[in-house]
Assembly symmetry: D2
Homo-oligomer: 349 residues x 4
């Protein structure tokens, strides 16, 4: 039984962490912080938790967090990096669900997040928490930067293509047309997020540039070992009038060699031992609802035209795209069963 702290427990990733961790066989959540709700019971704010916990929010007190074995930061960008040094000094591990430990490139971090990094040295040693791709490093990690939601769909959707000695695809051709439910934007009092602005509506956003673009580029460089070839890939996110769910439609040009490989088999073999990545049969249409509430990503492949590959990649943005993957990473870091606390089946309908 390890002791867990959650910093930032009033947002959607915070309450999702609680939903998962309160049922986790190996952990006890002992600290839950909020800047605004000190002293309030969490089940008063989120009645779905009534009967499952008596936890109260508290102000962030570093001494309390230092008693934890691991602290999750479900906060805005820039919070985790301020506390990392002190927590590490107490042997407390860190899983940041924001972007403080995702990008290794400091210039990109500063450009996209509008702040200087507070602890570049710690960042250097941090591990990027895409569980399936970086499993061994995560097991050893003291600081994990949990991936962005969109980048998770892209990396798991493309990794099998780049983990080959052969060159199967033209990396510069990648186009990611991504769609997300509204909960991805968090729980904020923001005019653009209110119900009547989003229901029965569809739009693109961030077309001119989005923070997840550099994260995707850096991640694909790491996966493929190729630098520079992904700089100009296209990434266009869209907003879907649904709460949870994310689907990326990824278009890639195949090389001659890639055209003649059985990609369906290649993907199935690549993920054969993965509990949380599901390569669906040919001609499947993965739906976001098939993973609602579950730590699961599903992939389907199509080759509708010569030398063109389409990858469909779906997940619940709050689970495999955030809190679920964070718990998966915790399981790896502490030697628990990788699926501990993550066995829930998606809610359909």
């Amino acid at each position: 039984m390890i002791s867990v702290g959650i910093v930032g427990g009033t947002g959607y990733t915070g309450v999702e962490l609680l939903r998962l961790l309160l049922r986790h066989p190996n952990v006890q959540v002992n600290v839950l912080t909020s800047r605004t709700e000190d002293g309030r019971r969490v089940d008063d704010m989120f009645p779905s938790l009534r009967g499952h916990t008596t936890l109260k929010y508290s102000d962030l007190k570093i001494d309390e967090l230092k008693k934890c074995d691991v602290v999750f930061f479900a906060t805005p960008h820039g919070v985790a990096m301020k506390h990392a040094e002190e927590l590490l000094a107490s042997n407390t591990k860190i899983i940041d669900l924001a972007a403080d430990f995702r990008l290794k490139n400091l210039t990109e971090f500063e450009k996209w997040y509008g702040m200087q990094h507070a602890c570049p040295d710690i960042l250097t040693g941090a591990v990027y928490g895409l569980s399936e791709l970086n499993r061994e490093q995560i097991k050893q990690a003291k600081v994990v930067g949990n991936p962005g939601c969109y980048p998770t769909t892209v990396q798991l959707g493309l990794a099998p293509l780049f983990k080959q000695t052969a060159t199967l695809v033209k990396p510069e051709s990648i186009i990611i047309d991504a769609k997300s439910g509204v909960s991805g934007a968090g729980r904020k009092a923001n005019l653009g997020m209110i119900y009547s602005e989003n229901a029965d509506n569809f739009k693109a956003y961030g077309v001119a540039g989005h923070r997840h673009h550099p994260e995707i580029v850096e991640a694909l460089e790491n996966i493929s070992g190729q630098q520079g070839v992904f700089d100009h890939i296209l990434f266009v996110p869209h907003l879907v009038p649904m709460i949870r769910g994310m689907l990326s439609t990824i278009y890639i040009d195949l090389t001659d060699e890639g055209e003649h490989v059985d990609l369906q088999t290649l993907y199935e073999q690549f993920y054969a031992d993965e509990t949380f990545v599901d390569v669906m049969p040919a001609n499947s249409s993965p739906e976001t609802r098939s993973v609602r509430g579950a730590n699961q990503l599903r992939i389907a492949l199509y080759k509708p035209q010569p030398k063109k590959l389409i990858v469909l990649s779906v997940q619940d943005n709050l689970v495999k795209g955030a809190a679920g993957q964070a718990v998966q990473n915790m399981n790896l870091m502490f030697g628990f069963a990788e699926d501990a606390g993550l066995k829930g089946i998606g809610l359909l309908p």
Copy 2:
């Protein structure tokens, strides 16, 4: 062609007024104010208006408003009453879509709206703008208090029962179980209004007390000529995960006399000449989508048990429940055809 001003053009009733008035044959919208968007084109904020107007927002300048024949206040409560005296002095008529000129009872106004009334004398002369019930006074009015959305469904849903010499119902038995789409709460950056808090969810609110309760009580007293008997009626609003639409399910005990009257015929005759009130055939189920975008209220009656009447009353909260009725009132005040600018058919599906 009259000159129209709209104060508060960034909310949902403001943009709905524009949608209707820009197509109205007898008016020209010349002034559109906003506290925050001075100088911005309205079609930049609301692209649905692109191609239909070149209007810009301006700060509220009373001298500009005084040039108008009529000014609509699509503002928070308390704005119209501050400017009423000056506007009336210039012979500019006023239609307030907020609550400043709804309640005649100042004590109730102060209790529910948390402010003192700025011009009780003007309030005394103001007309309550339920078009069908107060048509003749509205024609003469200089200041109209446009009814609240819920009260409109209740008054039109019950008026035929109380406009009889016979006593058909027990007034104290009235229970109003009302349901509204989310746009009724306006266009505000409010955490409780964001998409992920409201989609795929249903709840009651304001059960312990709601501002529309005193308005309903006062209105029913005026309609029936009976004082005191409505004080303890029940009114429970609920929030429906849809943008527009409002349905009130109203339960009433019938008297012996009421039990033997043909209420279906009574309602049909009462509204026989009304363009905007539709008494549906027996056993109909009025749906909110049947009035989406239309200045229409539909009613259906049921008598499933002895001496019990159920009235279903639906409207689009932004049209017959707000902007549409305001335009209908303007038409009455200026002698235009009552349906001028209001002939649009509901959007279904």
Copy 3:
């Protein structure tokens, strides 16, 4: 480990049973029938189950069902009663999620379900499966009629009032204004159920009469021990544009005695030991999303006017209103922990 069969595995209650039972520590689902999908893997139809089961649908073969310890019928009305005798002869217990074993009154059954009952003798011995109210009989039952979704909200919402020696309320005054998500209508190719007919829309239905009315009447008679006084209560269901969730707003007149009782305390004490019934604090607003996917019913009480009580009662219609309560009943029937397989926390947002 008991062996479980599910008859009718292609509907929403069927797939919800699977979601719960595949994670249940004491059961193995061995048979899953479908009239149309014989031989098809269930996870092909419901990809949310991929990775969790290899079960296939089969035609209903009574010999296979007779090997089970218990069979759930997630079928249309009229199926369970045809197979009950044979199953009981093999000592196989039955939990029917349809209406075959709900109403004891055969006349009402035939009137509302349009068929003769196939086994009135078995019906006589069947137990009505409202777990909290009939726990002891359920433990002994061989046949359980799982309650309708609306009646569950009403019974749990009102039971504390009628399980008293004092007369707290006027039973004939009860008005149930109920609202349900669309999944309550099942998974059927029906024009009235398609997306564009239901989204962004709200309506009442079944106002002239609904099958759950006689079930509610009979249940309240059993709870209160009073016959005849509930015959004319009002029950009006409405359809909410959401998938899951049900809220009943119940209006009741209090007696003088009821007016002076602390009903909040009475409810809290009545349900003090119940895991799945949550009496919320005064002035709470129970939301359907707070129980999404969870076997939980939440209640809130209001007394906004003299001698008037309002009870708000919410549940997930597919869980506590159907499959979850069925599993709860199975747990009682087989002596498992009552919450086995039912510990999941609601999905919010």
Copy 4:
């Protein structure tokens, strides 16, 4: 005043035609057919029309249709072509909202629609009804094949690029990632279309091939005058949980020449005189709700990477994508003002 007939008045395009035509200053709808609803008033099926028409459905009687000046076919594919010859013989014009007169290539028609064409000669003379691009031919047409919804967004989104003497783009690079509201699938009792299967869900469909692919190819060939270069473009439609609305995100590689052209200006000039095509300012994000219920298509351009163009193109699939464009075509065919009956402003929110 011309006399209009509508064949197939129970679907969504049928009722949308009525919404528009009942307010059109130059037409009278005299015939409305249905295979199943003969004798029923249309406002009984669609209560949104109550108060606006007394029309009844009738069986399809060719003699009644022959009295009309124009007949709209809002039917499944294959109906219009059966009646075309007889109607033309009576000088009745035809606007088909299905696919009978879209594709000139008979092989493609038979492949995708699974039927032989009934009147290839008439097809030869039919005009493809993309109003803005084929205006002059439409004015002379006796038979118009109204474009598919997706192809409308693509053609108007790309036409300015191909109507140049210079070669601005690489035609074979086109990728169309399209998203549609559910009403695009029509009004049918289909399991896959029910609310609980589509709400809070997102998926791709038809990835391996969709009927609108050959229509897009043929249309782009006609626009560009280039044959064969579009055969392998990608078109992937997705289903959005909303009723109305369609957005296509189109990706295209620019040539060196295209890279140096001011495409924003080129588009603005190309559509400068078009009422129903709106080129939004740079960096705009067109939303489907901005055209809800309006005969309007909005376009925005982005160049986020070198030599890459992204075109966003939105419309209401039932209006500019179907019934609205059909009315626009009728206006052209009969010399009415092109915007007659089409002046409605989009419903926002």
